[in-house]
């Protein structure tokens, strides 16, 4: 990280992005979120350990569709990384393109998730499995949704020329969040679709 360019905070000081209070605040927030998802995973695995047949009879999940979703999110991590690298070099238009692609991929992910929810054979109120399935994927989707809104606001600011090679901290912090949500999806995907 030694070649990391610095950002301006309070309009005067030049600090490395990862040393700013906002960056630390986001990391603390993500630690807190780890416990939110931790409680959901704990619920899932506890119920699983205490139940004889898991998943219950009649549950069919479309692993292929979920794998495509995983691929989409992984690619979106790449696009946001590319966008962040671009603005460090001062390429505003590449930043815009990267953000636009990330938003598109995020929305596609949400669309596929919605399709999945309407096409599985169970509902949250069918059984405890349904409850954990929808809560786990639901809270993750909520985080992707929040991420999309964050990215839309970054794109709006990009279009209004708010970012430059010395002012890109919000992009750094948002992409940290985006990578984190992708990482959580890998765990959700492994838990629900792989370990059956």
């Amino acid at each position: 990280m030694s070649d990391e360019p610095s950002v301006e905070i309070f309009g005067v000081e030049h600090v490395k992005a990862s040393r700013t209070p906002v960056y630390l605040g986001m990391i603390l927030f993500l630690i807190s979120e780890a416990f939110l998802f931790g409680s959901l995973f704990a619920t899932y695995y506890y119920l699983r350990a205490e139940t004889k047949v898991w998943p219950p009879a009649g549950v069919h999940l479309d692993t292929w569709l979920a794998s495509i979703n995983t691929f989409i999110l992984l690619v979106s991590s790449g696009t946001i990384w590319w966008a962040g690298r671009a603005i460090r070099k001062g390429k505003e238009s590449s930043l815009g393109i990267g953000l636009g692609l990330t938003i598109f991929l995020g929305v596609t992910f949400l669309g596929i998730t919605l399709y999945e929810w309407t096409h599985v054979t169970f509902r949250p109120w069918t059984n405890a499995y349904g409850s954990t399935f929808y809560t786990l994927t639901g809270f993750h989707a909520l985080h992707v949704f929040a991420g999309v809104i964050l990215m839309v606001s970054m794109l709006t600011r990009t279009l209004r020329h708010r970012f430059s090679s010395s002012n890109f901290l919000p992009i750094e912090v948002s992409s940290l969040y985006w990578h984190y949500v992708d990482f959580i999806w890998i765990l959700v995907f492994t838990t629900i679709f792989i370990i059956t």
Partner: protein, 621 residues
């Protein structure tokens, strides 16, 4: 007429009215949608739940909590902030100054405190069988609401208030790291408090403060939904607060303020907020799961659907045991910081005391299952959890030892704040010592769910929260208001509250050993429990009387009390080196910290070098 209209210019009034309107709109729209898709339009559970959420969001939007972020997100030019005016209306509007927010928190907590105490006094009257105004469900609702109000609307916000006011002043910062987030976390508390209090009017909830399913999932009235959302909001507020405090302490310390030059209160804040940051998510999620089960018919805790009742208890105690340390650690920090000032000696074993806060917090995270010894958990879990529970007594013992050793041969000044600290230590010691037998599996099986547990818990919270809070109020009121509280009234209050605390706690412990169950509405007179119940009730009333004196003292002293000057206690801590009340941005020039904050009586000991300007100011006053 104009004056009446002016009330509406206060953010809090506008916000609450808009919140009500938002809730109404949410309920209306939900009913229309339900009608349109063929469900019965009115079903109190789901309809009011959505109404509450829309109401809270409208309230926050109208208050202006999101204005800045919204403008930022659409890339608009940032507005030039107007220079703030000194006016009482600031306390009723969204304000980002940490001192304003601190006072807002504290006043909110101190408003709910007598209400929560009074609720329990009704329950106590009923149990003492002098008058019996209650039926069983009302009794359960009242005592449950007392518990949750106290913990989540009084204790947490009161400590948040103290942290907000003090942390920047103690570490030499001009404000918190994220002032707008700070304002948002405060303004979540009023709706949380109102929902928790008003849950009584919409059917209450009869589960005790722990809200165990299946009872909480099947209780018919919507009071349960109110309480679940109210506590969720309070939890959200403390998570946001934790992010803010941790970032502030890590990033905003004055130059030279190394870890072992921070007052112990800052260490306690670190330990506390590390716990709230992480574990609060568990109680938030477990409450949401109960809400989902009630409103959407989900099946987490419903055995007929493949759910597990015990799951809730794991999730709940995984938070709620660390939470107990959240409730007391700051109180212990207040005690540690107050004793050296009044004993005129350095804090004995400062580093050990500082680190023991972290030790208590770390130990506290791995003891939670001791609440479930009687709940049918696997046998192999019991002994490890017993051992960890007993281990937590060690760092706590370090603190008590250090306090006594600090006082030893000190030049004591017996002020009200110091007296409260003494009572707090003794009470906390009772709480700690009664905790040890409760942590031992066989003893716990006998004492589980008896008044012994209630007595133990109240001893730790009186010793770790209420009495230290009183000490903090007497200690810091001069800094906040610029005027001294009346010591005469203070000592009267101290006497009432100390006697009251003793009368409240000791009979409870006795009742528990005799076999009186907690949360039980009635008992047979032949058991001989009545005198002890009456003693507990008397204790409760004495404490309430103490609170009345405090209110009177604060109101009269704020107007007519003796002027305090910048440093009435002759303390070395940064906060006391600036004027009382402190200037808008605390420090005209950021101070340079050069030494330990507790070097009382040590020749040549200096904590910090303030700017030349401030020194002149202090001399002139």
């Amino acid at each position: 007429m104009n004056k009446i209209l002016k009330i509406f210019s206060l953010g809090v009034i506008r916000g609450l009215l808009a919140g009500l309107a938002g809730a109404g709109a949410g309920i209306g729209i939900t009913m229309l949608v339900r009608h349109a898709i063929g469900l019965p339009a009115w079903n109190p559970g789901p309809v009011t739940t959505i109404g509450i959420f829309t109401g809270v969001i409208t309230y926050l939007v109208v208050l202006g909590a999101f204005n800045y972020w919204f403008r930022w997100a659409i890339g608009a030019e940032p507005k030039e902030a107007e220079p703030p005016k000194r006016s009482w209306t600031r306390y009723f509007n969204l304000d980002t100054n940490h001192k304003i927010i601190g006072v807002q928190y504290l006043v909110t907590a101190l408003t709910f405190l007598p209400f929560a105490v009074a609720l329990q006094l009704v329950g106590r009257l009923d149990l003492s069988k002098l008058v019996s105004p209650l039926n069983a469900t009302t009794y359960e609702s009242i005592i449950s609401d007392h518990g949750l109000l106290m913990l989540f609307i009084v204790v947490l916000p009161a400590f948040s208030g103290l942290m907000n006011y003090l942390i920047p002043l103690l570490i030499g910062a001009r404000d918190m790291a994220f002032p707008r987030l700070n304002a948002l976390s405060y303004w979540l508390i009023p709706p949380a408090g109102l929902l928790t209090a008003f849950s009584l009017l919409v059917g209450g909830f009869d589960t005790g403060w722990t809200l165990y399913p299946p009872l909480s999932a099947s209780f018919e009235y919507i009071g349960m939904n109110f309480i679940l959302i109210g506590i969720f909001l309070s939890g959200l507020s403390s998570i946001l607060g934790a992010i803010n405090f941790l970032t502030t302490i890590f990033k905003m310390r004055a130059p030279g303020m190394g870890p072992f030059r921070m007052p112990v209160f800052v260490w306690s804040t670190l330990a506390t907020t590390a716990l709230t940051l992480t574990f609060t998510q568990f109680i938030g999620m477990s409450f949401l799961m109960v809400l989902f089960q009630r409103v959407l018919g989900m099946g987490f805790f419903n055995p007929q659907m493949g759910g597990q009742v015990l799951l809730y208890q794991y999730l709940f105690w995984f938070y709620s045991h660390p939470a107990v340390y959240v409730f007391v650690l700051l109180g212990l920090g207040i005690i540690s910081d107050t004793i050296p000032v009044f004993a005129r000696k350095p804090l004995f074993g400062y580093k050990a005391v500082a680190i023991s806060s972290i030790g208590i917090a770390a130990g506290g995270t791995i003891v939670f299952a001791h609440h479930m010894f009687a709940a049918g958990i696997p046998a192999f879990l019991k002994i490890p959890f017993m051992v960890t529970t007993l281990l937590v007594a060690v760092p706590t013992g370090v603190k008590v030892f250090a306090w006594v050793a600090t006082m030893w041969l000190g030049k004591l000044r017996i002020t009200t704040a110091f007296l409260f600290v003494l009572s707090a230590i003794v009470t906390f010691l009772i709480g700690g010592l009664t905790g040890v037998p409760l942590g031992i599996v066989p003893v716990d099986l006998y004492l589980h769910d008896t008044y012994f547990v209630v007595g133990h818990f109240h001893a730790t919270l009186f010793g770790g929260f209420l009495l230290p809070l009183m000490a903090a109020i007497y200690f810091w009121f001069p800094k906040v208001s610029g005027r001294m509280l009346s010591e005469k009234m203070g000592k009267m209050q101290w006497l009432l509250m100390t006697v009251g605390t003793t009368l409240l706690i000791l009979p409870m412990l006795g009742l528990g050993i005799e076999g009186m169950r907690r949360r039980v509405f009635d008992y047979s007179l032949t058991l001989g429990f009545r005198p002890l119940h009456i003693a507990t009730a008397v204790g409760g009333f004495l404490i309430f009387a103490g609170l009345v004196i405090l209110a009177y003292n604060m109101i009269t002293s704020a107007r007519r009390g003796a002027p305090a000057g910048p440093n009435p206690w002759n303390s070395m801590i940064l906060a006391w080196q600036v004027s009382s009340p402190p200037p808008e941005e605390n420090f005209a020039e950021i101070p340079r910290v050069v030494g330990n904050p507790f070097g009382y009586g040590v020749e040549g000991s200096v904590h910090a070098i303030m700017s030349t300007e401030t020194k002149e100011e202090i001399k002139n006053e």
